[in-house]
């Protein structure tokens, strides 16, 4: 009996150590970035353009570029993703068309980000002639985060209990009326929180914008959607790997990394908290 207890405890602790070591790794990485990055963060760093090829000055144009790219991508992907999810959850019947759409979404979610970059380069930059620009970058990122938004939105729609639909349909309402009045109001919070995760992903991606939108240094801020822009992840990549004196600009690198992580985690933690809030609010 004792031997059994011992083995049981040993097993339990092995699994516990494994699980917490993953958490430990996360904590170590985040702490490293925060501890070494936070001292570089001050108003000047956030609000001025880089000087001396990134060795001094700030990262304001990169922050702005990331905001442009991310909000543009969301503007395209969010309505499209929500509408796709409404179709899949509310209208679609089992059949070849639905299967094909689902297959496409699964395929899209597995396409490597650099391949999205190649695709954006071929289609938006060259074929449509948008050039390396904010527009090309937004559209490429939108294609990339579309599956995330569809899957999250569909989950939110499916969480709305069936009897709300049946009640409405039984009273003679059409499907669209039912969706508009009895499904969407309850599903929208979940759809939005799920989509916030897409924002985090779009803000942090580097590979697609590397080929479609980003420039390391621009003397002026972009004037239109057809101008290229700077972006936080690309700025960090160049500072860390291409800069002639990469070791000396370490504080700038950590500062950029900190800003990027802060933006991404802000959206993610926000989404997690909102989700918990709405789960408590709507308990069917």
């Amino acid at each position: 009996m004792n031997k059994r207890n011992l083995l049981d405890n040993l097993g339990l602790w092995t699994f516990r150590i494994i699980a917490y070591s993953v958490v430990g790794a996360v904590a170590y990485i985040l702490l490293d970035i925060v501890v070494k990055g936070a001292p570089s963060i001050h108003w000047d760093f956030l609000s001025s353009p880089p000087r001396k090829s990134g060795a001094a000055g700030g990262i304001f144009p990169a922050i702005l570029g990331t905001v442009y790219l991310t909000s543009g991508a969301m503007l395209v992907a969010f309505p499209l993703g929500m509408a796709s999810a409404i179709y899949l959850s509310e209208y679609a019947r089992q059949g070849r068309f639905t299967r094909a759409i689902r297959l496409a979404i699964i395929t899209l979610s597995g396409v490597p980000s650099i391949v999205f970059g190649l695709f954006g380069l071929g289609l938006f930059v060259l074929f449509f002639g948008f050039g390396a620009s904010i527009l090309s970058g937004c559209l490429t990122l939108a294609c990339m985060i579309l599956p995330t938004i569809i899957v999250a939105s569909e989950e939110a729609l499916r969480a709305v209990p069936q009897y709300l639909r049946e009640g409405s349909l039984a009273l003679g309402a059409g499907p669209w009326q039912t969706i508009r009045k009895n499904v969407l109001p309850y599903a929208i919070p979940g759809m939005v929180t799920g989509s916030i995760l897409g924002i985090g992903r779009a803000a942090g991606e580097t590979a697609p914008i590397l080929l479609t939108a980003a420039a390391f240094y621009l003397p002026r801020l972009p004037k239109s959607a057809l101008d290229p822009c700077m972006a936080l992840p690309y700025h960090l990549y160049v500072l860390a790997t291409q800069h002639p004196s990469a070791d000396q600009v370490r504080p700038m690198q950590y500062g950029t990394a900190f800003t990027l992580v802060a933006i991404v985690l802000f959206f993610n933690v926000g989404a997690i908290l909102l989700r918990a809030h709405f789960r408590k609010k709507y308990q069917w």
Partner: protein, 333 residues
């Protein structure tokens, strides 16, 4: 007004708290339509809007298919001229020397091997940690612990890959160099460690779902036979969820194969035919990211990079399809 379907819908929703009843879709176009004075016109428009809505949503949903088609189309469109000159057989070479004064070589085998080596190493590291953590979270952790562990792991998934790459470059690579007494820390191993961290959240969340969906009766039967909790986890629950766990690992590997920034920053980027984790390697993704910025559009080198992209696309496509098939089979049973 009693004939108006909307009013009945409102009644149906009447049991809900008042705060929920106000829909965000009141007014606007819908309100304008409703304001049309004669009921007959309203009904005709309502019927049209029902059909229109269905069509609109179906069209939106098909954009995913369109994007997939365009991805394949445009990758091949840019890559195809390579077939006539210098010919597809060049891609099967063992040397990648895209820029040279005498003879350029576009053998993608070292890049494929580099991706393969890094992926396999990362899987070896990620499987015990990912599956172990999934088992712990699904079966052993107390609810409060689970509420803490799951967001932590979601946070790991949220860290941008370029930040992980930066961390690898500044912290991990010097560590690997010191521990293994190497001349450089920028090796396949450093890349694999980072990629294992990126694969872990995928593996953990999907494997956890798989383990949790094992029917309760399995556990109860095992416990009733006198097995301990640990024995039940090890001999009953985990084997029952095995196919889901396999799918989780495959989806994690799919993420690893396609990962770009982290490997670009820490694997050293030397296109070599090597199987040693302590050598620098160059993956397919890193090659595209590093070289696409410098090529002339339309050149042979440019086309070769698109072939690398196609190889990558098919590799991840096949991994994903097999994983989905495994998942579906296990969800049905």
């Amino acid at each position: 007004m009693g004939l108006e379907p909307d009013a009945k819908v409102e009644e149906a929703g009447g049991e809900h708290p008042p705060a929920l009843r106000a829909t965000p879709f009141e007014g606007g176009l819908v309100g304008a339509l409703r304001a049309i004075p004669f009921a007959g016109g309203y009904f005709r428009i309502a019927g049209a809007s029902e059909r229109g809505a269905r069509l609109f949503f179906a069209a939106c949903a098909s954009t995913s298919m369109l994007i997939v088609l365009l991805i394949f189309l445009f990758l091949f469109k840019e890559a195809v001229p390579f077939v006539s000159k210098p010919g597809l057989s060049d891609l099967a070479g063992t040397r990648w020397v895209p820029v040279s004064f005498q003879h350029e070589l576009f053998g993608i085998l070292p890049l494929v091997l580099g991706s393969l080596l890094v992926t396999l190493l990362a899987s070896v590291l990620a499987i015990p940690f990912g599956v172990g953590a999934a088992i712990y979270i699904a079966e052993l952790a107390r609810p409060a612990e689970r509420e803490f562990l799951k967001p932590c792991i979601e946070m790991l998934a949220a860290i941008p890959s370029v930040v992980l790459g930066f961390f690898g470059l500044v912290v991990l690579a010097p560590l690997v160099k010191a521990v293994f007494h190497l001349s450089t820390g920028l090796t396949a191993l450093s890349g694999a460690i980072l990629l294992a961290l990126m694969a872990a959240p995928t593996i953990i969340s999907i494997a956890e779902d798989a383990i949790r969906s094992v029917p309760r009766s399995y556990r109860e039967a095992s416990l009733a036979m006198g097995a301990t909790h640990m024995q039940t986890v090890w001999k009953v629950t985990t084997p029952a969820a095995l196919s889901g766990i396999v799918a989780a690992v495959m989806l994690g590997m799919g993420r690893v194969v396609g990962e770009t920034m982290a490997v670009l920053m820490v694997t050293g980027n030397a296109a070599m035919m090597t199987l040693s984790p302590f050598d620098s390697v160059r993956t397919m993704t890193a090659t595209i990211a590093a070289e696409m910025g410098e090529v002339t559009f339309g050149s042979t080198h440019y086309q070769a990079l698109f072939w690398v992209g196609i190889t990558l696309l098919f590799a991840t496509f096949i991994l994903n399809m097999v994983a989905q098939r495994v998942l579906r089979k296990y969800q049905r049973s």
